[in-house]
C-alpha cells in the first residue's frame, strides 16, 4: 500500500482521469445521439423509424470489444484514422446511444395516453405536447435508468484497456505487472469503481426524490 501511494499515485490519478474523460464524453455523446434516435423512433416518418430500429438492434447486440477492434484497428484500413482516444469514444458512444435511445423511449411510453389526448383536445401542438407534457414527465421517470446507463458506460470505459489505453483498469494491471502487489492494487481500483457507481446512484435517487411527480 505504501509503495502504491509513494510511487504510483500519479499513475493512478492519470488512469482515473482518463476513465473519467471516457465516461463523461461517452455518456454525454450517448445521451445526445440516443435522444436523436429516440425522436427517430417515435416520429411519423417511416424510414427514420426503420433506421432507428436497425441502429438499436445492431449496436445493442454487438459486444463492445468487437466494435472497439473494428473501429480502432479496422477503420485505418478503410482510410479513416481517428487515433486511439477518439476511436474508443466513438465506440462507447455508438453502443451507449442504442441503450440511451431505449431508455428514453421507455420513459416516453410511460406517459399516459389520456394526458396526451387531453393536451391535444386543448389544442396543443406536437411541439407543445412534447415540451410541456412528455419530456418533463419522461425525463423524471427515466432518472433511475439513466443512472444505470451512466454506470454501464463507466464500466464499459474499462474496455479501452483491451486496445492498450491506460485507463484505470489497465493502470492497475500495469502496476501489478511491475510490483506484484497481489490483490491490493486491484482492490483499490474496485473501490474507486464502486465509489463512482454508488455516488452516481445516490445522486440519481436524490434527484428522483426532488423531482418526483405524483401520479
Amino acid at each position: 500500500m505504501d509503495v502504491l501511494l509513494r510511487d504510483y499515485s500519479d499513475d493512478f490519478l492519470a488512469g482515473l482521469w482518463l476513465t473519467l474523460q471516457l465516461t463523461g464524453i461517452g455518456f454525454v455523446g450517448a445521451f445526445v445521439v440516443g435522444t436523436v434516435l429516440a425522436v427517430f423512433r417515435i416520429s411519423p416518418i417511416p424510414p427514420l423509424r426503420v433506421a432507428g430500429t436497425l441502429y438499436v438492434e445492431l449496436f445493442r447486440n454487438v459486444p463492445l470489444v468487437t466494435l472497439l477492434i473494428l473501429v480502432v484497428y479496422g477503420l485505418p484500413y478503410a482510410g479513416l484514422n481517428l487515433g486511439f482516444y477518439w476511436s474508443v469514444i466513438l465506440s462507447i458512444v455508438a453502443v451507449g446511444a442504442a441503450f440511451a435511445c431505449e431508455t428514453l423511449r421507455s420513459g416516453i411510453n410511460a406517459v399516459s395516453t389520456g394526458q396526451v389526448e387531453a393536451a391535444r383536445a386543448l389544442g396543443l401542438t406536437f411541439a407543445g405536447i412534447c415540451r410541456e407534457l412528455v419530456v418533463p414527465q419522461a425525463l423524471r421517470t427515466v432518472i433511475g435508468p439513466i443512472v444505470t446507463l451512466f454506470i454501464g458506460i463507466l464500466l464499459s470505459s474499462s474496455l479501452a484497456a483491451v486496445v492498450g489505453m491506460r485507463e484505470l483498469t489497465a493502470t492497475v494491471a500495469y502496476i501489478n505487472n511491475r510490483e506484484a502487489l497481489g490483490l491490493t492494487t486491484f482492490a483499490v481500483a474496485a473501490a474507486i469503481y464502486v465509489a463512482l457507481s454508488l455516488g452516481a446512484a445516490g445522486f440519481g435517487s436524490v434527484l428522483e426524490r426532488r423531482l418526483r411527480v405524483l401520479r
Binding site: P44, I45, P46, P47, L48, E57, L58, R60, N61, V62, P63, L64, V65, T66, I69, L70, G74, Y77, A78, G79, L80, G96, F99, E102, T103, S106, N109, V111, S112, T113, V116, E117, R120, F126, I129, C130, V134, P145, T148, I151, L155, S156, S158, L159, V162, T169, V172, A173, N176, N177, G182, L183, T185, F186, A190, Y193, V194, L196, S197, L198
Partner: protein, 283 residues
C-alpha cells in the same frame, strides 16, 4: 402510451411534410451508404479476394467451432451466475442481518466492477497466491460473478413483484415463513422472471467476447488468429459482428415471445420484469 397518440392523422399539409422528410431521409441514407461503399471500395476492402475466405468450408468449420466455444463459455458463465444469483437474491431478501448484509455487499460490488477488472484479477493477481486457473475458468468465472450480481437483482425484483396477499395468505393458513417463500412466492416469482433471465443471457453472450483478452478460442479470439493469417481485419470482424447480432436478436425475440405468452396466460399485461430490469450491460 403508443407513439401514435403523439400526433394526429395528418392533413394535406402534414402529409406533404411527411413525404418531403421521408424523401430527404431516404436520400440521406443512400448518400451515407454510398459514402461508406466508396470509402471501402477505394481502399480495396471490397475486393473479392478479401471476402473469399468466408465461403471456404475450412473457414466455415473454423467459425462453427468458434461459435460452439462461445456457446460453451456462455453456458459455463450461466452455470455459475444462475445458482449464485439465486443464493445472493435470497440472502438479500432475508430478514437475518448476517445474511442480508454480505449478500448486498457482494451484489453491489460485482454490479459496480467491470468484468475486465475481475478477469485481470484472475489473470494477474491470483497466480501470485499460487492459484492458477485454466483459460476457460479465467473467462467464465468473471462473467459468471458479474452476471450473478445482476441476476440476483432480477430474482429479487421477481419475488418483490409477487403480490403481498400471497405471502399473507400463506402465513394465515399457518405455513412458516421459509415454506411460504418456497412453495408460494418463489414458484410464482420464477415464472415471472424467466423472460428477463433469457434476455439477460444476451449480456452473457456479449461478455464472452473477452475471450479475446484471455485467449480462449471463442469467436473474437478465433477472429484474432484468423486475421493474423489473412490480414482481412475489417472483413473478419464484420462477419463476427453479424454472427453476434443474429444470435442475440434471436435470444431477445425468444425472450419477448416468452413474456407475451406468459402475460396472456396469467392475464396480467403490466408486470414486466423484463422492462424493469433493463439490459444495460453496455459492454
Amino acid at each position: 402510451m403508443s407513439a401514435h397518440a403523439l400526433f394526429d392523422t395528418q392533413g394535406p399539409r402534414g402529409r406533404a411534410t411527411v413525404r418531403i422528410v421521408t424523401m430527404l431521409s431516404v436520400v440521406a441514407a443512400f448518400a451515407l451508404a454510398a459514402l461508406v461503399y466508396w470509402q471501402l471500395y477505394r481502399t480495396g476492402q471490397l475486393a473479392p479476394s478479401k471476402w473469399r475466405t468466408f465461403i471456404q468450408p475450412g473457414t466455415l468449420r473454423y467459425f462453427a467451432d468458434a461459435l460452439r466455444n462461445t456457446a460453451l463459455a456462455a453456458l459455463g458463465a450461466a452455470a455459475i451466475g444462475l445458482p449464485l444469483g439465486l443464493v445472493l437474491a435470497l440472502g438479500r431478501l432475508s430478514r437475518r442481518r448476517w445474511l442480508r448484509l454480505p449478500s448486498t455487499a457482494v451484489i453491489e460490488l460485482f454490479r459496480a466492477v467491470p468484468v475486465l477488472l475481475v478477469i485481470y484479477v484472475l489473470m494477474f493477481a491470483l497466480p501470485a497466491y499460487g492459484i492458477r486457473l485454466s483459460i476457460y475458468a479465467k473467462l467464465v468465472i468473471p462473467i459468471g460473478l458479474c452476471a450473478a450480481a445482476v441476476l440476483a437483482e432480477v430474482f429479487r425484483a421477481g419475488v418483490l413483484a409477487v403480490p403481498r396477499g400471497q405471502t399473507e395468505a400463506g402465513l394465515a393458513v399457518g405455513l412458516r415463513e421459509g415454506l411460504v417463500m418456497r412453495i408460494v412466492v418463489f414458484p410464482q416469482a420464477l415464472r415471472m422472471v424467466i423472460p428477463a433471465l433469457v434476455a439477460q443471457s444476451v449480456v452473457v453472450v456479449k461478455d464472452t467476447a473477452f475471450g479475446y483478452v484471455v485467449s480462449y478460442p471463442e469467436l473474437m479470439q478465433s477472429g484474432k488468429v484468423l486475421v493474423a493469417n489473412t490480414n482481412d481485419l475489417i472483413q473478419t470482424y464484420l462477419v463476427i459482428t453479424l454472427v453476434y447480432v443474429v444470435v442475440n436478436v434471436l435470444i431477445s425475440a425468444f425472450a419477448q415471445r416468452l413474456e407475451r405468452r406468459m402475460n396472456r396466460a396469467r392475464g396480467m399485461g403490466r408486470v414486466s420484469i423484463l422492462a424493469r430490469v433493463r439490459r444495460t450491460a453496455i459492454q
